[in-house]
Symmetry: C2
Subunit: 247 residues, 2 copies
DNA sequence: GTCAAGAAGATTGTTGACAATATTACAAAA
DNA sequence: TTTTGTAATATTGTCAACAATCTTCTTGAC
C-alpha cells in the first residue's frame, strides 16, 4: 500500500459521489484517482497532457492494473478522456463544450432545487441554508478574488445536492460539479457579480421556504445560466489574449 | 477472438453512445459488454443475479481482464452495479429509483427538444420527423402490445438525440435510454395511451417547426412524466400481483 | 525544403498466476 | 429454533510478462 493517506481528503467530492453506503476505506484505484484528480483540477496536469499508465504506476509503486481502473474513474468524472490504444489525456474542453456542460447542469440543478422546494423537509433545510446565505451576503462586497465567497457557494451547492432525495441525480451532479469547479470561479470574480449572486440565493431560499417548486427551478436554472455566461465571457477573453500574445 | 460477430448489432445504443468518431471495430471489452447487455435487457439475466468474472471469461474464452472492463462499461449504463470485492450483479431498480431516472430524463429530454426547436436546422429536422409521426398515428389504433408503435417511438427518440448539438447530452441520454427501455413499453401498452402519445408527438413537431423552445421543452417533459407515471403504475400492479402470488 | 516510407521505440491491450477478501456451510451454544 | 463462531470454498484484487498497436524519428526521394 504505497498511497500516502495524508492527501486522501483532498477530493471530498469523490466521497460524496459514492453516496448511500460510503465505505470508510477507499480502494486502491479510488485512492489513485483521488490523487490524480487533485492534480488535474489544481492545474498541475495541464489540459491536453497525456497520462501514461506506466509512469503513474511507478510513481505510486503499484502495477498498471489499478492505475487503469483509476483512469476509468476519472473518465467518468470527465477529467480525462480515454482513446483506444492511445491512453488517457487530461480533458481540454472547448468553449462550446463548457457551454454544453453548463446547459445540462442548469436543467439538473433546476430539478434538484424543485425537488427540494417540494419536499417535506424544506423548512428544515431552509434553516440550515439561512446562516450560510447570510454569510454570503457579508462576504460579497469584499474586493479581490473572493475565494471565501466561492467556498461558501460550493458548500451551499454541496448541501443542496446531498439533501435531494434522488440518488442518481446526486451522482450526476457530483460529477458535473467536479467538471465545472474550474469555471465557477470565473463567474464570481467581481463584487457586482457576487451581489447579483447573493440576490439569487436569497430568492432561492424564499422559494424553498414557501414550497414553490416552479420558482425554485426557475431561479436555479437562471443562476447556472448566469455563471455559464460569465465563464464563457472570461474564456473568450482569455483565448483572445493568448492569441494576441502568440502573435 | 472468440466473440461471435452475429450478435454484434444487438445493442445499437452502445454504438450511438460513442458519438462523434465511432470506430468501426468494437474493442474486446465492448463486444463482451454488448453481449451481456443484450442478456440483461432481454431478461436472460434476471435482476439481482450475480455475474461472475471467471464464468464469463470462460464462456467467451478470454481472460478476466476484458470481462472486468466490460462490467465497468455496463455499470456506466446502469445495467449492473459493482460492489468492492463482491463483484457485479444485475441492477434491480426499485420503483423509487425508476421514478428518479425518469425525472432526470424528463429534464434532459426537455433540454434536448428545446435546443432542437431553437436550432437553425429545426425546419430540416421537422421534415425528417414528419413521416415518422404520421406512421405513428397510423399504428396507434392497433390492438395488442403495440410493438411496432414502440419501435417507431424509440426511433424518433434516437433521431432527436442524435440531432441535438450537445455531445455530452447525447451521451447521458443514450445511457438513460438503455436504462429506461425496459419501462417505456409499459407506458404505451393500450390504444388510449398511444392516442395520447401521438397527440404529444404532433404538438412537439409543431413546436419544433415554429421554433418555440418553451413549448418544446414543456411537451417533452410532460411526455416523459406521462410515461413515468404509466410505468410506475404498472410496476406497482406487478409488485402487488407477485406479493399476492407469494402468499 | 517538404513529404512519404520504414524502422525503432513507446504505450496500451491481454493473459495467467498469486494474494486478499468475501461468501457459504456447518457445527455448537443459547 | 435461532444465533454465533469457524473452517472451507469461491471470488475479486493485484501483479508481472508478453502481444498488438500506435508514435516518433530517421532516411530518402522529389
Amino acid at each position: 500500500m504505497a498511497i500516502n493517506p495524508a492527501a486522501m481528503n483532498a477530493l471530498p467530492d469523490l466521497l460524496t459521489r459514492l453516496g448511500g453506503s460510503a465505505p470508510l476505506t477507499l480502494s486502491l484505484p479510488e485512492q489513485i484517482a483521488a490523487r490524480l484528480s487533485e492534480r488535474i483540477v489544481s492545474g498541475a496536469y495541464t489540459p491536453g497532457q497525456r497520462i501514461m499508465e506506466q509512469a503513474v504506476a511507478e510513481e505510486f509503486e503499484v502495477s498498471r492494473g489499478p492505475v487503469r481502473e483509476a483512469l476509468r474513474l476519472l473518465e467518468k468524472d470527465g477529467l480525462v478522456i480515454i482513446n483506444a490504444r492511445r491512453g488517457a489525456q487530461v480533458t481540454n474542453p472547448t468553449i462550446a463544450e463548457v457551454n454544453e456542460i453548463f446547459d445540462i447542469r442548469s436543467m439538473l440543478n433546476g430539478l434538484r432545487d424543485r425537488l427540494i422546494a417540494e419536499s417535506p423537509q424544506r423548512a428544515q433545510l431552509a434553516l440550515l441554508l439561512e446562516p450560510e446565505i447570510a454569510k454570503l451576503a457579508q462576504t460579497a462586497d469584499t474586493s479581490g478574488a473572493g475565494d471565501e465567497y466561492i467556498d461558501i457557494v460550493l458548500r451551499l451547492n454541496r448541501l443542496l445536492t446531498q439533501a435531494v432525495n434522488n440518488q442518481r441525480l446526486q451522482t450526476i451532479l457530483g460529477a458535473l460539479a467536479v467538471q465545472t469547479v474550474r469555471y465557477t470561479r470565473l463567474g464570481l470574480s467581481t463584487p457586482q457579480r457576487r451581489q447579483q449572486s447573493v440576490q439569487n440565493w436569497q430568492s432561492l431560499l424564499r422559494a424553498i421556504r414557501d414550497g414553490d417548486g416552479d420558482a425554485a427551478e426557475r431561479i436555479a436554472r437562471q443562476r447556472v445560466i448566469d455563471s455559464r455566461d460569465a465563464a464563457v465571457e472570461h474564456l473568450r477573453a482569455q483565448a483572445a489574449a493568448s492569441a494576441q500574445f502568440a502573435a
